[in-house]
């Protein structure tokens, strides 16, 4: 019995891995530069913002602004890309769901796995870049990245559960979410200085993505402990999203194959 359970569990893990791997592979398959695009895309995005904001708009003289952008852009990209692909997740996997009753949550794990892998690689590039052009000081504060990332994953999962399930009943959601992400990009301190939030708009810390991006910067750019109050609040909110989102998905997605 025990052997059978562990075999099933291993099969499940392997399946999640294979789907994540496929997702990653298919995205860059067929393009001449292949996997290189995973780095080139955020690289150019960062470069464009940097040039626009240092030369055209704000005339910022501080070159380390590029590090500020870098951390914000890649973290936001993880959130927006994952939630965006989650919307059509059931539609994309319907050929499998039609044939065998797999736990639907596995597809979410694969999606998160594939996107977070991409995020980690970008983060690694950020660290290399930091060492190459700046003189960063890191300490054991880096360990705070672990709870921050767990929170980020939980929140992204929670939003993905909800979006994918709502899409079953409301196809317009993909367009609505596009707009939300567009607004979200500016509602989160990716480009602008996050200290504004602490001075006047502390309610914005209730957005977990905002809190996590700020926390990451405090750890990586300022080598300090993150603002623990915002971190814990964000973690709690993320957990609520993940758990309630999971049950919402579990019970409301039963008719997914009928409607999609």
């Amino acid at each position: 019995m025990l052997i059978k359970i562990s075999r099933n569990f291993r099969n499940r893990l392997e399946r999640i891995y294979l789907f994540a791997n496929t997702d990653y592979y298919v995205r860059y398959y067929g393009s001449k530069l292949g996997i290189l695009w995973a780095f080139l895309n955020p690289f150019f995005q960062i470069l464009i913002y940097y040039l626009v904001f240092t030369y055209l708009i704000f005339k910022i003289k501080d070159p380390s602004f590029i590090l500020y952008l870098f951390t914000g852009v890649i973290t936001w990209q993880f959130f927006s890309e994952t939630t965006n692909s989650s919307i059509r997740l059931f539609l994309k996997q319907r050929y499998i769901l039609q044939n065998i009753a797999l736990p639907k949550v596995d597809f979410f794990w694969s999606l998160i796995g594939s996107k977070f892998w991409g995020y980690l690689i970008n983060f690694l590039i950020f660290i290399l870049f930091d060492f190459l052009f700046f003189k960063p000081v890191f300490s054991s504060n880096l360990l705070y990245l672990l709870p921050i990332w767990i929170g980020l994953i939980l929140f992204t999962l929670g939003v993905s559960f909800i979006l994918s399930t709502l899409y079953v009943y409301l196809n317009d959601l993909s367009h609505l979410w596009d707009i939300t992400l567009m607004a979200g990009f500016w509602a989160v301190p990716i480009i602008w200085d996050y200290h504004i939030i602490y001075n006047n708009y502390s309610f914005m810390l209730l957005n977990p993505v905002t809190a996590f991006i700020i926390n990451i910067r405090q750890v990586v750019l300022e080598n300090s402990t993150p603002d623990l109050k915002s971190l814990f609040t964000a973690l709690a909110i993320s957990l609520v999203f993940a758990v309630s989102g999971y049950y919402f998905m579990k019970f409301k997605s039963k008719k997914a194959l009928e409607f999609l």
Binding site: E14, L18, T22, V26, Y95, Q98, N99, I100, A101, E258
Partner: protein, 240 residues
């Protein structure tokens, strides 16, 4: 429940709500509020049936009689209306020919993915990889993306993968019969019976009455979502 029962369906009804759409923006806008343009379609009515373990059970009926809906309900891909109960005893899998390939991936990669979905471990898949490719007669095309395959090649590949699947109950939706050319058909037929049917429960949905007559222990005839007859193949087929 009895241990020798594989699938038990109790009082299964299925109503689909269809949303008919107007073509103009004005039609759609007004139907948003009026709720017009929705119709109810009863796909299944009061279906109750027990299928025993190891049985080869056929389902026949004209197009639109509810066969595929029933299979999807057995598979728990879609839920029945309130009050209906579906009990399955063992891992259930639907096999259909159009199923399950990612067109961007090569045959090898698709074998990996599909076999994993069908319950094999990565290690087992690797050890059986060449066998599967050889059986599907696709040696020269193993690393070609499936999108360049003909439909015959795809169905041969699917069959070769499915033969290794680990499940207790197979729901075959027009799956068996008609795969590949004559040669492949013979080969498939043989392996199908040696390796596949033994000890497994098979629900077989088909229009090919010959295969139904040949293999099924019991047959159910559906008409407009209702059971017309259940019994020995010859008797039921005559009622069609």
């Amino acid at each position: 429940m009895d241990n020798d029962i594989a699938i038990k369906l109790e009082n299964i009804n299925k109503t689909f709500v269809l949303h008919d759409r107007g073509n103009t923006i004005r039609d759609r806008f007004f139907s948003l509020f009026s709720g017009k343009g929705t119709r109810k379609l009863k796909a299944l009515q009061n279906v109750t049936v027990e299928i025993k373990k190891g049985e080869f059970f056929g389902i026949i009926g004209l197009n639109g009689s509810g066969k595929s809906t029933l299979v999807q309900i057995m598979n728990k891909a879609i839920p029945p209306d309130k009050g209906g109960r579906v009990i399955t005893n063992g891992r259930t899998m639907r096999l259909a020919l159009g199923m399950g390939f990612n067109d961007e991936l090569t045959a090898r990669q698709n074998i990996m993915l599909n076999s994993s979905v069908l319950g094999m471990s990565i290690k087992e898949i690797k050890s059986k990889m060449n066998e599967i490719i050889d059986f599907a007669e696709l040696k020269e095309f193993a690393d070609t993306p499936v999108k360049y395959y003909s439909s015959g090649m795809k169905s041969k590949l699917m069959f070769s993968i499915a033969v290794n699947a680990e499940a207790d109950i197979f729901l075959m939706d027009e799956f068996f019969g008609g795969v590949g050319d004559q040669n492949f058909h013979k080969k498939a037929d043989a392996i199908f019976h040696d390796r596949f049917v033994k000890g497994k429960t098979i629900i077989h949905v088909s229009h090919q009455l010959e295969t139904i007559r040949k293999y099924c222990d019991r047959v159910m005839l559906l008409e407009k979502g209702k059971i017309i007859a259940i019994g020995k193949p010859d008797e039921v087929i005559d009622k069609m």
